[in-house]
Symmetry: C2
Subunit: 324 residues, 2 copies
């Protein structure tokens, strides 16, 4: 039925975060074959950006515990690319305080072309400093503001003003970490971001706790966001993300090709779903509706009481839980 | 986050279709315990209407093949209700040509208070005749127009005019049988229905093929629909429906109580999901995006190739499939 149509003058840009966000489920312990299959599919799909993992310091995370895409070293990325001509821009995400300047080579010596900084609003001065370090090294830079459903408009306006004035990031993304936003919240946030960020793009990163990952992404684009995140099959921690297959079908732009996405869905994701869990599950819906981090729901899903959503609902909504 | 708020003067009404629509998956072979648990939960939740099954003639369907909720006999319904005081209005759905006048007792001799007619637009004269028979017997009557994504506005306006002029149904519902509608389609359809149906309410019945079941229901309500359908856990044929738990949380009306819904989710639906399948699965997404009946996807899910979504995508989108 009616889809987004091209030719309206607006340029929409898609970020694939399949490996980076999916790795939050299994500490980035994906096989090289899995990552190569995903890279080949995204590279053939016409998607503009692929965030292949986090870049982090090995001084802070043990390579015994965490898989390669916690670190996403340049040489590992070159191994994955092999001889494939690059259509997609490759990049990584970095967290404040978990990466050091030495972890990033100058961009012209790296297979990466962009780096996104993930931050909470309260850490904005550190995020801006890190985004500028990234830009100084020659990478395209971005900032993602996490847990956006917990910030107030006054503090947000201040943080956005600082980004606008002090950085040259391409886009700043609204991240619905708790999967708590309804359509009206999305519209309000995109309007707020656009008002402050007169020289940057606005992006959106959805979570699917209330089956609104795809719908909220559409709302964000309709409201003026021009960058959006998605993952194949919606893979991502807890309830997961906006599914890339739904988004590309909706965007309906001839530059995108759905076939490689469906082929890798069949080849990789059917089996992967039997190994690790993500998607709409009732404990994640409950934390989403309460605007809470999914960590208590993740803990429940890893326990013997994993299916006791009725008990979990009562635990989280009974007043005495909060009156201490 | 922001939810629908009460007190705006609009009265929204929820239909639970858990047993009726869920039964499309397993030929209504639910145990009495399951149906009683669902009834008790819905009855305690504050939901206004519960469609407990289809009413159909035993001359047309074999009770050996079909479970009790294909027929939903008055005496069976009385067995389920037992001594429980009724808060919810109970009713059934009927299909054109699959029920006879004798299958419906006068309303004052039945535990049912409403009957909904499911019809395709092309069968509107029969649907109107059946709706009037239902009303004459003393039941509150409704019409649901199925496969709405396949009709044109000209024929639709004619059908709606006939309903407006020739019946006294309470509401007419838009049924997105193929799960193919995007938000803009929903807005357009609700506006079209409201324009023709000046003396009736407009309802909405979503399917979740593209993870838009809940989102499209919100869009319909925001556009002026006042009746909406939902099922516990989104149970329903193929990709399923708008989940009642998400809808009641969104409606945020103190008359609704989420606790009995979460208790029955834990008690009944966790196990049920291990027995029968519904929800967002890639073959259903593919038929939804192509605006097709899910029957080919249902057949795929019942075959050895159930997970071959890449092959299925190519089969349905390769031009030679259509050029014969």
């Amino acid at each position: 039925m009616k889809k987004k149509t091209v030719g309206t003058g607006e340029k929409l840009t898609v970020f694939d975060c399949t490996v980076r966000d999916g790795g939050l489920i299994n500490k980035w312990q994906f096989s090289d074959t899995m990552v190569r299959n995903v890279f080949e599919a995204v590279n053939a799909s016409g998607v503009e950006y692929m965030e292949i993992g986090y870049r982090a310091s090995e001084k802070m995370f043990s390579p015994e515990e965490y898989g390669p895409w916690r670190f996403s070293k340049d040489e590992k990325i070159r191994e994955i690319i092999g001889e494939t001509p690059l259509n997609v821009k490759l990049g990584v995400m970095v967290d404040i305080g978990r990466v050091e300047s030495d972890d990033l080579m100058p961009a012209d010596e790296s297979p990466l072309s962009f780096v996104r900084v993930a931050t909470y609003l309260k850490d904005m001065p550190k995020a801006i400093s890190l985004a500028n370090l990234i830009a100084d090294k020659g990478y395209e830079s971005f900032i993602n503001i996490m847990a956006i459903s917990t910030v107030n408009d006054y503090d947000l306006a201040k943080g956005l003003k600082d980004i606008e004035e002090q950085t040259n990031v391409t886009a700043v993304s609204i991240v619905d970490s708790y999967g708590a936003l309804m359509a009206d919240n999305v519209k309000h946030l995109v309007a707020t971001f656009k008002e402050s960020l007169t020289s940057k793009h606005v992006g959106f990163h959805a979570h699917n706790n209330m089956q609104l990952g795809f719908a909220n992404t559409i709302t964000a684009l309709d409201s003026g966001a021009t960058f959006c995140d998605a993952t194949i099959n919606g893979i991502g921690r807890a309830a997961g993300n906006c599914p890339l297959e739904l988004l590309l079908n909706y965007l309906n732009d001839p530059k995108y090709n759905l076939d490689p996405v469906f082929q890798v869905l069949q080849k990789v994701f059917i089996d992967l779903r039997n190994e690790i869990e993500w998607g709409y599950l009732l404990p994640y819906m409950i934390t989403g509706m309460l605007n809470e981090h999914p960590r208590v729901a993740i803990a429940l899903r890893n326990s013997a009481e994993k299916d006791n959503c009725g008990d979990f609902f009562r635990q989280l909504t009974t007043p005495e839980c909060y009156n201490n």
